[in-house]
């Protein structure tokens, strides 16, 4: 049974296969081969249905048939993103970068004191972290959800070639991790958290995204309030093969007031505005494969 487990959607076989492909496929046929293999993703029912459900809210009035084709585009971008990620880890192949909101980025890397980077499941988290490490000597802590499959988790840990200024932590031990992150912020470190998807066991806040009620992680806002550090919305948008754009939004604070709920509500509204402004035009690379709203939402 444990042998067969590797072939499940979250199993380690697919990571090993991707690594093998990255080390073997010539650059000039990778697009064709990737496009062909992306068709396999279309057979992943829950993912396909999740994307279609989300597209209905992001693009109101869109038809089921058109969204089915859009699913392929999301999967195609996702395939390129994970491919770029492995290509960077294995062969140190770096993409071209464009920048939007450079002034905010400069402030983030130059101003002393801790800060929170709030980001989404878009582009490549690892490539973004590498770019950050290249442009700044500041310590950055990336918080991410652990892999569902333990074998996959072990494989990813072995593969991760990261700069010294980068530390990865997993959002499994919610309360313990929160204290560690608070200390890191107080030491002046930067923490990167994905704030567009809730994983089981973490605290949440109500939010409105694309006109729908949903829940989003509370952690980044609570940390910002406790450590009195700004939150920087930051997104990595894939523009094409080996081309990414780093978009940094205006930072905001989660102020300590008498009414904590109101402070969180204001901060969450600011975050969802930033998130919507990015996801609406770049829906094809929001890698949220479960419905974010409605009865099926987590």
């Amino acid at each position: 049974m444990s042998f067969l487990r590797r072939f499940r959607p979250h199993g380690v076989f697919w990571r090993q296969f991707l690594r093998w492909a990255v080390l073997n496929v010539p650059y000039w046929v990778e697009g064709v081969i990737l496009g062909f293999w992306t068709l396999l993703f279309m057979f992943w029912g829950p993912g396909r249905r999740g994307i279609i459900a989300n597209l209905r809210h992001i693009l109101p009035g869109s038809s089921y048939l058109a969204n089915l084709f859009r699913v392929y585009r999301v999967m195609w971008n996702f395939a390129w993103t994970i491919d770029d990620n492995v290509r960077f880890k294995e062969l140190r192949v770096v993409p071209d970068w464009e920048f939007t909101g450079r002034e905010h980025f400069e402030r983030l890397v130059k101003e002393p004191g801790g800060a929170i980077i709030l980001t989404a499941h878009m582009g490549s988290y690892d490539l973004g972290a590498h770019l950050f490490a290249q442009m700044s000597k500041r310590q950055i802590v990336m918080v991410r959800a652990p892999e569902i499959d333990p074998q996959t988790q072990r494989f990813e840990e072995q593969q991760r070639g990261q700069p010294e200024t980068l530390k990865v932590d997993f959002s499994t031990r919610a309360s313990e991790l929160a204290i560690e992150l608070l200390h890191a912020l107080q030491r002046g470190e930067i923490i990167a958290i994905q704030g567009d998807r809730v994983t089981p066991g973490i605290s949440t806040l109500p939010a409105t995204l694309f006109g729908r009620q949903t829940i989003l992680p509370a952690g980044p806002f609570a940390l910002s309030m406790a450590a009195r550090v700004p939150v920087y919305p930051l997104f990595i948008v894939r523009l094409g093969r080996r081309r990414y754009r780093l978009v940094v939004g205006e930072p905001f604070d989660v102020r300590r007031t008498r009414d904590r709920a109101e402070a969180f509500e204001t901060a969450m509204a600011q975050w969802t505005r930033e998130l919507e402004a990015i996801v609406q035009p770049a829906w094809f690379q929001w890698y949220t494969f479960a419905p974010f709203a409605g009865e099926q939402a987590a």
Partner: protein
């Protein structure tokens, strides 16, 4: 690795292209381009260009698709044969990659070797189909014409290497350790 910052026109640097014909076209394009200041960071790597990569991928796949349509599905209506030929062509392109990858150096970087093997097999296939009596020969001829054009461009790029280096130095850039 060299990185050029702040110059969007550096996307046309010949060193960002792999094949001689594309390097030559990039050189011509770069000569006619004015500096384009923009907040970008461009990597100087021979496989960095989108257009070259996608064009070559589509071109080789369509050529092999024609071979498949003209042989395996020769009795089918042409549009249907071409459609059926696409997955066959992609599978055919993958076979040598899998063979080399699995049999020779399992966990190493085999991209260069696979690239040479695949291109050699494509040229061999084109030479074979060029002698056919059916329409498939035209697909083979255009492939060989592309290869010949690249072979002609290679000595020109070699002779221009001094100018290309000068042009690239003028754009600037920094070396970065990864």
């Amino acid at each position: 690795m060299k990185i050029v910052r702040g110059r969007a026109d550096a996307r046309w640097l010949p060193s960002r292209f792999n094949f001689a014909i594309f390097r030559l076209l990039a050189y011509a394009r770069m000569r006619g381009t004015k500096p384009e200041p923009r907040d970008v960071s461009l990597i100087v790597d021979p496989n960095q260009n989108n257009l070259e990569s996608h064009l070559l991928g589509v071109w080789t796949t369509l050529t092999v698709t024609c071979y498949a349509a003209g042989t395996l599905f020769a009795d089918w209506p042409l549009p249907l044969a071409l459609l059926a030929g696409v997955p066959v062509a992609i599978t055919c392109l993958e076979i040598p990659i899998v063979m080399v990858g699995l049999s020779l150096r399992r966990s190493e970087n085999n991209i260069g070797l696979n690239s040479v093997v695949l291109m050699s097999l494509l040229i061999a296939a084109a030479l074979y189909f060029a002698r056919a009596h059916s329409w498939v020969r035209f697909a083979a001829w255009q492939f060989l014409a592309g290869v010949a054009l690249n072979a002609l461009a290679a000595p020109v790029v070699f002779l221009l290497r001094g100018h290309i280096t000068e042009m690239e130095n003028a754009v600037g850039g920094i070396s970065s350790e990864l």
